[in-house]
Amino acid sequence: MELFTQSLREAARLLFEASPYLVEIVVRSLRVSGSAVLLGILIGIPIGIAVGLGRFRGRQIVIASIHTGFALPPVVVGLFVYMLLSRSGPLGSLELLFTPTAMIVAQALLAAPYVAGITLAAVQAVPPEVRLQALALGASPRRALWTHVREARLGIGAAVVAGFGAVISEVGAVMMVGGNILGETRVMTTAIVLETRRGNFAVAIALGLILLALAFAVNLALTRLQQGRWTAMVAASRDREPVR
């Protein structure tokens, strides 16, 4: 117990002093996960909209695949990306292994299904008549589509937040493809693993507290997005009746 409180106090001191080691790791985590989510958005939102609004053969299979992506174990994705980027792998010549870029790629693969899946649901939750009503007001098909998607923007925001939450706290993928290299690819999660192993509990706890705070902030944002307008969305969807 004595040791525990000692570590806590030490951790608080590190946080308060904003030790450069910590700062560097936190900044890198935010950059890597932030970029990954950006990439995930670029991939995920268009797919989510297309699948959410489209009608095509195999749509159910595509949706099921996206949902399966929610359950991708990060370490498996890490292994997959490692094999791609390894020098003996197909993309070895890019020399991306053990770099933040590799980590961004791996995390983007983890985030994209979240972004796509939740965007898909958000877009589907908007009554289809919204787009028709927009057309009936003189909007071009593209503008009408945009109006429909705009009504889903809170849900899409939630998709982004969920994607970020999924990657900021994962360790399997970034460990495998990043290598936890000091000063280059060490992020919060991999640093926590390392420092715990080394017995530097204070550092690990400090990082853990930051990670928790970030995760909480992310979830708070998500909750506000969902709860705040959830009642409005529910009311709107209840208004829908079969169009016949």
Binding site: P127, L135, A136, L137, G138, R143, R244
Partner: protein
């Protein structure tokens, strides 16, 4: 030339033919109501005419030119209001300006037009309100303002009063009529409520099972319904079946099935009701005059049916009287008449109805 004309329009869902309209048209400055029960295919027709859904067969002509979904010019000339408001998130002003933005109007023009329309509907105070704070009636008004702001050449409305409380419906109907006639070149109103159709329309088309079964002015529809369905749907009462027993000088005598009651009816134009023809009989409750059993009324031949009051009930400012005698009847009389006749359950009265008020429809 008509503004919009649909010819041979057909639409199927699976194997079911949902819309099967041979001809439908609306002229400039006209309000046409398409009236029919739920499930008649009205909403589908609405979407076909609005060009947001493609028809399987047939064509739609806008001022003589055929148009299909996606037609640019049609998109800017034909506007539509769906049954539910489907307001876009934002303020009331944002919504009302939507169609104007889509047409590329400048901000100044948009603001002016929006202010104008909101004032016309008496909702200027709502301009900056976010749409999720509006009541049902307010939302419906905003949806109407939004559709009318671009002043469409033709406005299509799907069940405009269906979502409103009965109390606000009448007020809204008045505003609706005023707005449509001021701001739209013409309108087609899809509704299941005869009150909407009769109050607002210049012409009514009755839709049953996807087909238009009668088109005409409100008077024509009410006084000369083309079928028992139309009659019943527009407020008439059906008396069941009967058989023509005599026919002379355009007046047919019909014996009602299962009774000895005989009624004289004026045959519909062009119909020959030879004895033996099976018919269905309809009348409008407001055409029944009640009298004391021994009263002598005018010299004109009319149907007089001795009957007895079963119950009384309110109907707007009038009294609805259920009568049961040899044949059940419903009469609609003024309060004054009800008092004067001392109407009460059990009271014996005579129900008189002019031959011209009896409708017969040959079934055989």
């Amino acid at each position: 030339m008509s503004l919009l004309r649909a010819e041979g329009l057909r639409r199927r869902y699976g194997r079911r033919l949902v819309v099967d309209v041979d001809a439908l048209e609306v002229g400039r400055g006209e309000v046409l109501a398409v009236l029919g029960p739920n499930g008649a295919g009205k909403s589908t027709l609405f979407r076909l005419l609005l060009l947001v859904e493609p028809a399987d067969e047939g064509r739609i002509l806008l001022e003589g030119r055929q148009v299909r979904p996606g037609d640019r010019e049609a998109r800017h000339r034909v506007g539509g209001v769906f049954q539910r408001p489907y307001l876009f998130s934002g303020t009331v002003a944002d919504n009302v300006a939507y169609g104007l933005r889509a047409r590329g109007l400048s901000k100044r023009e948009r603001d002016a037009r929006v202010a104008e329309i909101l004032a016309l509907l008496g909702i200027e105070s709502l301009a900056g309100a976010p749409v999720n704070r509006l009541s049902g009636g307010e939302a419906q008004r905003v949806a109407l303002a939004r559709a009318l702001a671009p002043m469409p050449g033709l406005l299509l409305l799907d069940e405009p009063t269906a979502n409103l409380d009965v109390t606000v419906r009448r007020r809204f109907r008045a505003d609706l009529e005023r707005m449509i006639r001021t701001l739209a070149g013409a309108a087609i109103l899809i509704t299941h409520d005869p009150a909407d159709a009769f109050a607002l329309a210049d012409r009514i088309a009755i839709m049953e099972d996807g087909r238009i079964v009668q088109t005409g002015t409100p008077e024509e529809i009410a006084l000369r319904p083309a079928s028992p369905f139309v009659a019943a749907f527009t407020g008439a009462e059906l008396l069941g079946g009967g058989r023509v027993v005599a026919y002379e000088d355009g007046i047919a005598v019909v014996e009602l099935e299962g009774t000895t009651v005989r009624l004289g009816a004026i045959a519909p134009e062009g119909a020959t009701l030879s004895p033996g023809t099976q018919v269905r009989v309809a009348y409008r409750p407001e055409d029944i005059i009640l009298a004391f059993p021994d009263a002598t009324l005018g010299a004109n031949p009319e149907n007089r049916i001795p009957t007895r009051v079963a119950s009384l009930g309110p109907a707007g400012g009038l009294v609805r009287v259920r009568l049961d005698g040899d044949v059940p009847l419903i009469a609609l009389v003024t309060r004054h008449a009800a008092q004067a006749l001392e109407l009460a359950p059990g009271r014996e009265v005579v129900a008189c109805i002019d031959a011209s008020a009896i409708r017969v429809f040959p079934t055989g």
